[in-house]
């Protein structure tokens, strides 16, 4: 029993600590922050969560919002739904907004936040979250879900549009062939129907989708099928880990196809891990500039980055920049709310509708002009497409590889999608 006493003490304090409410500093604005730093999506959740945390610290350093500091609590829920639910229940009744993360937590909490009227800024860009009134194919009304960036479906449609132009530019003969590759899972399936439908409209021959799992493995079979089917454009719908495997398998097998990536499935880290297999992959970027780009807004982003990286040497992935934008939109909506009735969930939501073609102050050239309306939460219908140019250069940090020229990201197009009413929600 001797040893168990301190152990019991530790456990008890843990229980009490877990139930400690957000220590509201005098007039602090409580917000919640869900991240995945240690779970299956940690490779992209890390940079994104860091971006949100740094931006909040930066906002506080600049004096906060209307004189009040942001009081945020970060919970790493490791992509496990029950933990997200408990974290939310701990916050509910106190927080006025939540910076969320992926599909798991966003979907689990969508009912709660709608009822409790708490704006939820997710990093899940599922099109089913873009309909605030209901009635579209989304089959549910999500008036309190916001995200910065094109939805997965719109990003896929954008790439299909680029593919159509690219085919003409290449002088391709006949109908180009499009194929969707991904796992049978909500994340890769999210844009499938939309992209295939749009591809048909634009004159593609849509081949039957090719399945591959979300875990790394050997995908020679899929690559052989891909080669045999004669596809010209293949959309990789999975997350980075398995996309890397497919790219490598297809490089070995020798497949000649234009790969199209997705927002979370192709980034600088994936390029480093895949090496030359990732060469020529076209992928979407949510911001107008990347870390190594040139834009007036990047100065502010670099300042924000210095909060967690005083040396200024860290390379920030595209996810970091998107997180900065997402948090700054929340901040400006809160500023509007403070001037129009107080910072509550409902007012923050109304604040999101207050501006059109909105770029947060100081981020010109980084955050794209976005518009949210009470009937349409598709804030962004423009995306930049980049082409990855990667040579095998082995080891080194991403910054070093980019400096060496082994990893290059060339912007190739900016796609503007039409805002079609029938595209809302799917």
């Amino acid at each position: 029993m001797q040893l168990t006493r301190p152990l019991a003490g530790a456990l008890l304090s843990g229980v009490l600590a877990s139930m400690t409410p957000l220590t509201a500093a005098a007039q602090g604005i409580p917000i919640g922050h869900l991240t995945d730093f240690s779970g299956p999506t940690a490779d992209v959740g890390g940079p994104y969560g860091q971006g949100v945390a740094d931006t909040i610290a930066y906002i506080n350093r600049q004096g906060g919002i209307a004189g009040r500091k942001l009081d945020h609590e970060t919970v790493d829920y490791s992509y496990q739904v029950p933990r997200a639910i408990s974290a939310y229940k701990n916050w509910s009744g106190r927080v006025v907004a939540i910076q969320g993360w992926g599909t798991a937590d966003t979907e689990a909490l969508v009912g709660f936040i709608t009822k409790d009227k708490i704006p939820y800024y997710s990093a899940s860009y599922a099109a089913t979250l873009t309909d605030p009134v209901g009635g579209s194919k989304a089959d549910k009304a999500t008036p309190y879900n916001f995200f910065y960036g094109p939805s997965y479906s719109d990003a896929a449609r954008g790439m299909v549009q680029w593919a159509a132009d690219d085919w003409k530019k290449r002088g391709g003969q006949g109908k180009p062939r499009y194929v969707h590759m991904g796992a049978n899972h909500p994340y890769p399936n999210s844009p499938k129907a939309a992209a295939e439908e749009y591809a048909r409209q634009l004159g593609f021959e849509v081949l039957p989708p090719i399945q591959f799992a979300l875990t790394p493995g050997d995908y020679t079979a899929q690559c052989l099928t891909l080669r045999q089917s004669g596809a010209n454009y293949a959309y990789l719908g999975n997350t980075a880990g398995s996309n890397i495997s497919v790219l490598k398998s297809c490089q070995t097998v020798g497949v000649q196809v234009q790969f199209l990536g997705n927002v979370w499935g192709m980034d600088e880290n994936a390029m480093k891990a895949a090496g030359s297999a990732a060469n020529n992959v076209v992928y979407p970027v949510r911001t107008s500039a990347i870390w190594t780009g040139n834009a007036p807004g990047l100065a502010m982003v670099k300042e924000i980055s210095r909060i967690s990286d005083p040396s200024g040497n860290a390379y920030r992935a595209s996810h970091y920049l998107a997180a900065v934008c997402s948090t700054l939109y929340m901040k400006e909506a809160m500023e509007w709310a403070a001037a129009n009735g107080g910072i509550t969930g409902e007012n923050i939501r109304r604040g999101m509708y207050a501006r059109t073609n909105w770029v947060p102050k100081g981020t010109e050239g980084v955050c794209k002009p976005s518009t949210w309306t009470a009937t349409d939460h598709r804030s962004l219908l423009q995306l930049d497409l980049y082409r990855a140019e990667v040579k095998d250069a082995g080891e080194g940090s991403i910054a070093a590889l980019i400096a060496k020229g082994a990893i290059q990201m060339k912007p190739i197009a900016t796609i503007d999608l039409p805002r079609r009413k029938e595209w809302l929600g799917w």
Partner: protein
């Protein structure tokens, strides 16, 4: 049709190569089960630890591949031994399901430890072979897979010799058959268990390194461990030969299912699901797997 014929042959070849890898991991799994009756849910994590260890040696110390690889094997052997002694020995005699839960707990522990030590992003393996792929029957195959197939065959042969002719191997078989009788004959059951875990860890590391060389090392590598279950059950839980056959069958089956699906059925997910359907069918016909020993029940 000839185009499809070549495709089929290539798929079969690819299936056999990957199946050999499944077979290797399945063998490790069966080894532990045979010796100590434990279902090791942490097999995937053994692969992961081996892959990260090798990567670290190659990248941090710039060692040539074979040196790093051999050191990794030695390290994993020691790791398996220590793990068995520290964690699993106290559980000898406890209900098997508790031990299974312990291996699950270990897998959670090691996953988190690896993420802490090596980060959460995928890392590429430094180039190992001068030529990265080789042409076999018209199919480009990665050299590392050829290496792994050769090593797998070597390991299978070594295991076969070990269990049939060496003293330790016979001791292991005796322990698996009946612990108490083996003990009464002077076999140190503790040593047998420890050795079984050590060898299993070591061979898993080989598979882990191969997967790491092909796909890069990432925390998701441990999911390979779950893929192995159908292979093990198909072949019979207590048969090493069965594990190998099971692995090959599953590898070929996955690819065949994909072929059938993409050519004719167009359902979409046959690649992942087919092994399970086939498994259930085979288990209905042969409840102990293809090579498993039937439990002869006497009252």
């Amino acid at each position: 049709m000839t185009m499809d014929g070549t495709l089929l042959v290539q798929l079969l070849l690819s299936g056999l190569i990957v199946g050999a890898l499944y077979g290797v991991v399945a063998m490790c799994f069966v080894l532990i089960y045979k010796a100590s009756q434990v279902v090791n849910f942490a097999q995937g994590e053994f692969m992961l630890i081996g892959a990260w260890a090798c990567w670290w040696l190659l990248v941090k110390f710039q060692l040539p591949f074979f040196a790093g690889f051999l050191i990794t094997l030695a390290f994993m052997m020691a790791f398996g031994l220590i793990l068995q002694i520290v964690v699993l020995k106290p559980l000898i005699g406890e209900p098997i399901i508790s031990v299974i839960m312990v291996t699950i707990g270990l897998s959670i522990f090691f996953q988190a430890l690896m993420k802490w030590l090596f980060g959460v992003s995928a890392q590429p393996f430094p180039p190992v072979f001068a030529t990265s792929d080789v042409n076999l029957l018209g199919l480009q195959v990665r050299t590392v897979y050829v290496m792994s197939t050769l090593i797998s065959i070597g390991i299978m042969a070594a295991f076969a010799w070990f269990f049939k002719y060496s003293r330790m191997g016979l001791a292991m078989r005796a322990t698996a058959f009946n612990q108490q009788v083996a003990q009464s004959l002077g076999i140190s059951v503790r040593q047998v268990f420890a050795l079984a875990w050590g060898i299993s860890a070591m061979v898993s590391a080989l598979a882990g390194v191969v997967v790491g060389v092909v796909n890069g090392v990432s925390p998701a590598l441990s999911f390979f461990g779950i893929k192995v279950f159908p292979a093990v059950i198909l072949g019979g839980l207590d048969s090493i030969v069965g594990a190998v056959v099971g692995g090959l069958v599953i590898g070929v089956l996955e690819n065949l299912a994909h072929y059938v699906d993409s050519q004719f059925l167009r359902w979409g997910n046959l690649y992942e699901i087919a092994p399970f359907y086939v498994l259930i069918l085979i288990l209905m016909v042969r409840p102990y797997g293809l090579f498993g020993t039937k439990d002869i029940e006497r009252v």
